[in-house]
């Protein structure tokens, strides 16, 4: 299948390209050709596309087992960068405009957003500095750590609550204002971001965590 056809069928895929280092202008090349050229595992690329294209997509055990871990981790890290460097500032610009018009409520909104951003940053940093390095060393064969993937699964708190709250607040409770176009635009941006984050956690919960759990299981058997 040509990559162009895949994107036409499932436009969300276009969001994934930069995270895999794939640029536009791919002409008629097939998915497989593009993946090879960019040193991306085609199976993994399609797995991510499936998660983003179908709600309730549940990867099979085989798909999980065959995942290339280093690609998975660098994909997740690239997503973090995209959220932090592109999405969050973008939404913040809108919010800033809105806050300017919202009188004394403006500062409350901005403070809420700043806190949310800080939570999310902390969450990403924890993943990149604690969870991912552990996972990597574990899967490279290092044992003995007291940290377990179950700890990660537990700490994997739901960072989406506050984002949904922000949406509720903006379209339900913020006093009516003149900037209706920008408000709608912003709500759409937040909804899109929230959907993206949701899929991001599906990849962590349904691929990363089961993958590492399988590795831990296997190592336990070997060491017995």
């Amino acid at each position: 299948m040509r990559l162009a056809d895949l994107i036409t069928m499932s436009p969300n895929v276009i969001l994934m390209l930069p995270r895999f280092g794939i640029s536009m202008g791919f002409g008629e090349a097939t998915v497989d050709e593009i993946c090879r050229k960019n040193k991306v595992s085609t199976e993994f690329f399609l797995l991510v596309c499936n998660v983003y294209s179908f709600d309730d997509y549940v990867p099979t055990i085989q798909e999980i087992e065959q995942t290339d871990l280093s690609q998975l981790l660098s994909y997740l890290t690239a997503s973090h960068r995209y959220y932090q460097e592109s999405r969050l500032p973008h939404i913040e610009t809108h919010l800033q405009h809105l806050a300017d018009q919202a009188g004394r409520f403006g500062s409350v909104l901005l403070k809420f957003y700043a806190d949310y951003k800080a939570d999310l940053h902390k969450h990403f940093m924890y993943e990149e500095q604690v969870a991912f390095p552990y996972i990597k060393s574990r899967c490279d064969g290092a044992g003995g750590s007291s940290y377990k993937i179950a700890d990660y699964a537990r700490s994997h708190s739901n960072v989406e609550d506050k984002l949904n709250d922000l949406i509720q607040i903006i379209f339900k409770y913020l006093p009516a204002m003149m900037m209706i176009d920008e408000t709608i635009e912003m709500v759409f941006d937040i909804l899109q971001f929230s959907a993206d984050l949701n899929k991001h956690s599906v990849i962590e919960d349904k691929i990363l965590i089961p993958y590492v759990a399988l590795v831990e299981e296997r190592q336990k058997k070997v060491s017995k």
């Binding site: 099979t60 809420f112 506050k162 709250d165 913020l174």
Partner: protein, 197 residues
């Protein structure tokens, strides 16, 4: 609620139905009814056992009926439908269910997931057509939550049980759609419930 929740499993794989039966029975919260290995007697079994929950493997149903599983049950059937999922199932098929259970979840999640779904199913049925205005008591709780107090402190301050505070908090979240404490604080400010000091 002292009565155990009655669960009917509809699943062709013995390994899975026996496994689920064991996990659910051990939790002590559920009564697991005799398993159906096919969907032929779905309606009759419903009438016979009156289950509260049916755990159904969607692929067991005849292909043309998969998207309308409720049509296979008696019209009066008041039952929570949960799809058992361990392979790819069309999203349009899953939409016919109230909840989805991925059997690869850990044991405690499976038990918890079902009881959560039952709870929200009940409150959904109960709350149809109800008002979304916060009551006076809920507003009082909301203000204290927004000030950063814990449920226990709120209970002491308002002289009510912690349990009651928690149920007020649940109602506040259901009505406003806001879950986080920070979000509720913004709500309180926007509604002029807080003294701006």
């Amino acid at each position: 609620m002292s009565r155990k929740i009655k669960i009917l499993i509809v699943e062709p794989s013995v390994v899975i139905s026996v496994g689920l039966d064991r996990i659910l029975s051990l939790s002590g919260r559920y009564e697991v009814l005799p398993v159906l290995a096919d969907a032929e007697n779905l309606a009759a079994s419903y009438d016979r056992y009156r289950p509260d929950v049916m755990l159904i493997n969607p692929t067991i149903l005849p292909y043309t009926k998969r998207q309308s599983v409720r049509s296979l049950l008696p019209e009066h059937a008041h039952v929570l439908l949960v799809a058992i999922v361990y392979q790819y199932v069309e999203p349009s098929v899953l939409k016919a269910y109230n909840a989805i259970m991925d059997i690869r979840e850990p044991e405690e999640r499976i038990v918890q997931q079902i009881s959560e779904s039952v709870e929200s199913f009940h409150s959904m049925v109960k709350n149809e057509g109800e008002s979304y205005e916060l009551t006076e008591r809920e507003t009082a709780v909301l203000v204290l939550v927004a000030k950063g107090m814990m449920s226990k402190e709120i209970a002491e301050k308002l002289n009510i049980s912690v349990h009651t505070v928690i149920s007020h908090r649940k109602n506040i979240t259901r009505k406003t759609g806001i879950k986080s404490v920070a979000g509720l604080a913004v709500y309180a400010v926007l509604h002029n419930l807080m003294d701006m000091e």
